[in-house]
Symmetry: C2
Subunit: 507 residues, 2 copies
């Protein structure tokens, strides 16, 4: 009896500590959201300090040795409860996160944080000048610190594994390399076959579309898709993102170009996919580390599922295109659904990852993933990175960037974080999205017909039931296996691409 009471007391203390940390993290997230949306320009310096202070406080509270003791003391409780119960999951997942966080000394965190800030500043200056030489010494140091970071987690198979764990816990470089190699072998010939055909005409998307009207249309779409505006909102930012301050306040941002209709439409649906995930987490997990998406890959699977598999499907636009034409009669009255549908699914060999279509996108990602591994392994020197980048674009995509701005200086990731573990989530997300969607169709074959009628609740409910509500109770691998009955594999994505683009390009 006394033991049970003691355990209850300890569980309550754990929850109290975690709730406080969650609140601090939410405040830090709001500082970030505000910085990206409404902060006046000169607020930036103080904002940087405020963010650093809150992150430091939350990290120090989370890695308090008392937290480790509590988690040890709660092992027997965890063992006595079902694996997927809220309490056992709380202790298990918190311990995993605690052990990871506690491994990295605060002094290293501070040193790495300062270096990342410096590197980002150097990149912002170097990028417009195509000046890779200016960032090279920073990247050298980043590579060194990335290895140091990985080595706080000895016993790995590949030095990238601990770094991959930060975003996609449990995924390993060896497995991913093999998975991605299969994917590349399938994709390269498809891209070749498609790009041998005449290029799709997408001029209909590049007329003048007033920004306010575009925004109004995106709001209408994402509300119908199931995003809850009582628990969220959409604002504009330079780079779209999703962020949440609780499961009851999950916000998204979008960007609008008045000469590119696709930007606002698909970035809104993409971020909404992330948002549906967070809005769908069980309220019983609120205030704990369980109340969040379980991995970057699973998160991306939801944004890509809604953006691409649903939002770029013919059925979706059978329903929405008449409304889009009504919203933009001048621009679209003479454009057929078929022309529009082909335009939003145009496949092209391109240099910029974030603008890439569904077919070529993963080739961009996998180039970066392989280069990360080569750098970490020491096979590739930082000074040779620009040439290695060009070489891989030549072999995988058949085009070569003329400048480093469109090449190795393109993505912010390596210039604001570690090298290693930064890119796999995008391709994981695409693969998972297809595998999950196939499972949804097995459970509810009517989903495709529903989409044509503008009804999304069957799909949304199935995803909430099977994925969203669990937060991070399950790892990505557990979730994929549990939801689809199989381990992650490339076949569903390849089937999806072959079917959709086979028909579009008459392969």
């Amino acid at each position: 009896m006394q033991t049970i009471e003691k355990t209850e007391t300890k569980l309550l203390e754990l929850k109290t500590r975690l709730s406080e940390i969650t609140d601090i993290e939410a405040a830090a997230s709001l500082l970030y959201w505000d910085q990206a949306t409404y902060m006046p320009p000169k607020g930036a310096a103080a904002r940087g300090r405020q963010l650093a202070t809150l992150q430091q406080i939350s990290h120090s509270k989370f890695t308090d040795p008392a937290m480790g003791e509590l988690l040890e003391d709660l092992r027997s409780l965890e063992a006595s409860l079902p694996y997927d119960s809220d309490e056992a999951s709380l202790v298990r997942v918190t311990r995993r996160k605690y052990e990871r966080a506690a491994r990295v000394p605060a002094t290293f965190m501070a040193k790495f944080s300062r270096h990342r800030t410096d590197t980002y500043g150097a990149w912002v200056a170097a990028r417009p000048d195509n000046n890779f030489a200016a960032v090279e010494p920073y990247l050298e140091k980043t590579l060194e610190l990335s290895r140091e970071l990985a080595n706080f987690f000895p016993g790995y198979d590949h030095i990238a594994d601990p770094l991959i764990d930060f975003a996609d816990y449990g995924m390993q470089a060896g497995f991913l390399r093999s998975l991605f190699a299969q994917l590349r072998d399938e994709l390269v010939p498809i891209v070749e076959a498609i790009t041998a055909q005449p290029m799709t005409d997408d001029r209909c998307l590049h007329q003048y579309y007033p920004a306010q009207d575009q925004l109004a249309f995106t709001l209408k779409i994402i509300e119908q898709l199931g995003y809850d505006f009582q628990r969220g909102r959409q604002d504009q930012t330079h780079h779209p993102f999703m962020i949440n301050f609780s499961t009851e306040d999950v916000r998204i941002t979008t960007r609008v170009y008045d000469n590119d209709l696709g930007q606002a439409l698909f970035s809104s649906i993409h971020e909404m996919g992330h948002g549906l995930y967070e809005q769908g987490i069980s309220p019983t997990l609120e205030g704990t580390p369980l109340a969040g998406g379980t991995s970057a890959g699973i998160h991306e699977s939801q944004s890509r599922l809604w953006e691409n598999i649903v939002g770029r499907s013919r059925g979706f636009w059978q329903f929405f295109y008449p409304q889009l034409q009504a919203a933009f009669p001048h621009q679209l009255k003479d454009i057929s659904l078929e022309t529009f549908y082909r335009a939003i699914n145009k496949v092209v060999r391109s240099l910029i990852r974030t603008d890439a279509d569904e077919v070529t996108y993963n080739l961009h990602v996998m180039i970066r993933f392989d280069l990360e591994l080569d750098l970490l392994e020491g096979k590739l020197a930082v000074r040779d990175l620009p040439e290695a980048w060009r070489e891989r674009y030549r072999s995988d995509l058949g085009i070569v960037p003329e400048t480093d701005m469109d090449g190795v200086l393109q993505d912010v990731h390596w210039y604001t974080s570690q090298i290693g573990g930064m890119f796999q989530c995008y391709t994981l997300g695409n693969l998972m999205s297809s595998q999950i969607f196939e499972a949804a169709l097995v459970a509810h074959p009517e989903i495709l017909a529903n989409i044509e009628q503008g009804q999304f609740s069957t799909l949304h409910n199935w995803l909430r039931e099977n994925i969203y509500q669990h937060g991070c109770k399950y790892t990505a691998a557990e979730l994929i296996k549990g939801v689809t009955g199989a381990d992650l594999h490339i076949a569903p994505f390849i089937r999806y691409i072959r079917q959709k683009y086979g028909q579009l390009y008459d392969l």
Copy 2:
């Protein structure tokens, strides 16, 4: 030598601790700003928890006994430096705030905080129903807790003094009672003389004015007045306020009624006055308790100076009225400057403090101030408060509220904070604004002519130089004496009212 080094180390440690606390408070302020501006409705519950957590952390860090020890150790440094040096001021003011904060036990804070939340909820429900009985038991408890709070600061002359100190440090009930009595004796006959005359026609303000056009005009005005939009922004909220996250990020809010032009115009200028104060604080005080307005009264003096003395002056509108007419030609083309000027300065016996004109406003405030003292002294029982309210409105303003909603349930203050110290700042602000403005005119007699030409920098610079830059280095009393050469007195305000309204109403 070693001592100097030790002192430097301690000073640095003090600044480091204060900087961390300032960051946490800024994050809490942003949580509040977001709640009032953009937060989705269902975010409220989590937001309440987040605010409470950050306030608790910041309070606990500020009242850490180590802080007290540091402040003790820095007494010799303080004594060795000029009174108004940054360092001596930092130690002196921080110690004063520390000693006040450390006096109130955390358990009492938590208890009072919960009670205030409950009381506010009861008030929100009771107000539309005119149901004073429903809040009476809450107010009884508030009164009891307010006395308990005051008694953590023994040695006072009047039990309200420690409560007044929270907002207006150094002001005392006895002094204020006497000051306010003089003011009342002057104002009541003026109000009688004015209201014996025909009522001013202010229908020109109550036409339809599109909200967006009003907002655009307020932005133009406050920018010209000197508000820096690189370090601030204006949003809409139900109740306008100013809030800051650093001296480089000072935001204001306004409210717009499409049938009342005065609301947006004057609430924007009012909050901008608060904003100019905070934007004008010396950057060397950033990250310390010195970087804020020194008292609620001084703060209010700046909002009222800009709103009333400048913003409702004839000279101001000689400059801006043609622009206002150009912005709203349909509504104002046939309205003369004189008619508009009289409309925005209409004096009327009214029931609602926040809508009251300059002449009657202080009568509203002083009624509440006196009732607070009577309650604290035990002269007045909570159950007799509604009747006491009516009685005072009858004697001071010559009208009686028909409902408690327009009477004792009108203001949120007593229902969300303590009883005592909540209202004096408004009248202090009005009195100070006139006394300060007279001093500015002595230094720069050209200010009145400048205003007629839409030039505000001489006044703004003088205020920044003499008041804003100092943050809270000086107490309100020190500042008034230093800036105006005299202690606070009512003569300047009475001169201002007599001159302006004597001319308007031909007294």
